[in-house]
Symmetry: C2
Subunit: 347 residues, 2 copies
């Protein structure tokens, strides 16, 4: 994720996704385990893939409201986790800021963990609820998409590379669930969400193809080398519903969790709906799309360009060229995606 608060400003889609999960979030907060009265324990929730925190404030506030109506005055902790290079300073400023749950709820204490959630993060039997919003499509390592492909929808991806990537993503998710099983108390609720594809594996958005075009332009104009572009690799796999279901059906997962819900939605980016309703200009849509691409993918796209000048060139040219390609073709592009989530109960 891009730092300096940038991600917070360009995550409108991620907010829209939360609406599709909202009733499940509330129901989970109404039914999750609570610490036994007199045990002296706190109620603890973990927020995985927290990024800079803006999108965590509303759901965690909603959850705290439900939990506090069940157990007034129960102290709580909120553990926000993301990778070590996450922008934790922005997170802590958001946590102290106006929209934070810390302003509404007394006796709730946030902390942060800077470690991949593909590792153990907290002591065993510590968590009563766990949110992993719009994050489980990120894999611990970038798959080998083949010589020139850099994502699962790239025309150069082979069937074999894709099959191997699916298998790796299944293993990664299984490992994730094994860690979480140890960390959660019996009766804990987990809401796990990820960007997805439809059952054919199609993305909702044509933007990755447009990024391809721009990278191709930069190569053909001699501005960057083919070999650098070939090294681009984004550590994301957007699962199909059947990919998720296959993991949830594994006997070791069934032994730890009951599956309360699996839901796939095609979630429109709010700015596209506003455009269709004539409320905003096409330019606004283009800005939102380019902002989204840069916020999510810039670090991965820039990674192979280690030379400072080359890096700066790609950093400038990519958004500029994406913008000029889209601006002339109103209504043709979108940054809407399939979204998949599951609700689990720790047995």
């Amino acid at each position: 994720m891009k730092g300096g608060g940038f991600y917070n400003k360009h995550s409108g889609w991620q907010q829209a996704v939360q609406d599709s999960m909202f009733e499940h979030v509330i129901k989970s907060a109404q039914t999750c385990a609570l610490p036994l009265p007199g045990s002296g324990k706190c109620w603890r929730i973990m927020d995985l893939g927290c990024s800079q925190g803006r999108n965590s404030m509303a759901p965690i506030s909603a959850v705290l409201k439900e939990v506090r109506s069940r157990a007034p005055g129960l102290p709580g902790t909120v553990l926000h986790a993301d990778l070590p290079d996450n922008d934790f300073s922005t997170l802590f400023h958001v946590l102290a800021g106006e929209g934070s749950y810390t302003r509404t709820f007394e006796d709730v204490y946030p902390a942060a963990i800077g470690r991949s959630y593909y590792n153990r993060l907290v002591p065993s039997a510590e968590l009563h609820m766990l949110l992993a919003f719009v994050t489980l499509h990120w894999l611990p390592q970038a798959p080998d998409w083949g010589a020139t492909a850099w994502n699962q929808w790239h025309p150069a991806v082979t069937t074999e590379a894709l099959a191997e990537c699916r298998q790796q993503a299944a293993k990664d998710l299984l490992g994730f669930l094994e860690h979480r099983a140890v960390e959660c108390v019996s009766g804990a609720k987990l809401i796990l969400s990820m960007v997805a594809t439809d059952s054919a594996g199609d993305a909702g958005s044509s933007v990755p193809a447009l990024v391809d075009d721009v990278l191709e332009q930069l190569v053909s104009e001699g501005l960057v080398s083919r070999s650098s572009v070939s090294q681009v690799s984004i550590p994301i796999y957007c699962r199909r519903e059947q990919d998720l279901q296959a993991v949830l059906d594994l006997p070791q997962v069934r032994a730890d969790f009951s599956v309360e819900a699996v839901q796939l939605n095609f979630v429109r980016h709010p700015v596209e709906l506003q455009y269709e309703a004539g409320e905003v200009s096409w330019e606004t849509v283009v800005d939102a799309i380019v902002g989204g691409v840069i916020a999510i993918w810039e670090p991965s796209l820039l990674a192979p360009f280690r030379d400072a000048e080359q890096r700066q060139l790609v950093k400038q040219e990519l958004p500029r060229r994406l913008r000029s390609a889209m601006i002339l073709r109103p209504g043709e592009f979108g940054f809407s995606w399939h979204h998949l989530f599951t609700v689990l109960t720790r047995l």
Copy 2:
């Protein structure tokens, strides 16, 4: 603190200070409360003013070793706290790195808190041990040192300003102890340490006066304005032993804590001892002193210079001129300070 890992590289004195507290750290780990067997609770330690973490690894490893020998296999959490703008990414990389206690001890889980410790940080009765190393001389707000003074040793400080600052520092420490009293279980051990002065209020180091000289040079050469320099104010008060003792003697503090130790040391910077033994050159000492000044004070010294060019000028000139002033006068300058600590037990 200066970010980007800089503080970690320039905190040799802070490491030397730990030696003066070492036996107390071990004894506290041997006698602190542990969670009751069968309570399902973890052993929890908080590390206040953690900065980028390097200096926390050794003492926390030493503490974990003692606790694990008392209660083998007891899971633990370590909460590292510092201000929101602390360099948490470096902290999390240090926590995952070679010298980290996470490499030596299983089932120990670090997290971070980005909030001033003059606020509540964790739920009540949560902590079994608390370290606040070389940090309690930092106040929540810069005192009003008067029109031109920017620290307690400045020739322009009035007796009244200094008295007011002492009073404010006492109030701040009392507030700090009140928060910690709620957070600690009965039997928790707290080791609280700070840069100090001798009973006359003298600093150990002549470096602040040299910084004065450089700032004065910059004004007289017309490079920066007098009014900007007058706005410099460092939020530090280095207490005398009697300042600390007066707070510890307050009835509300005595009701919460017993005082196990109060100790004042003059701690020499290791590089100065190496120089005196003929092991390093004077240039090495100068580099260490300038590095220390910049690591600790640069953010406060630069704060009034909001204009980018002015800021850059001071950022360059201050270390350069400090270095040239010192390099010609071998053995005349040092970055050694008085250090004061107390060991408390929560009643």
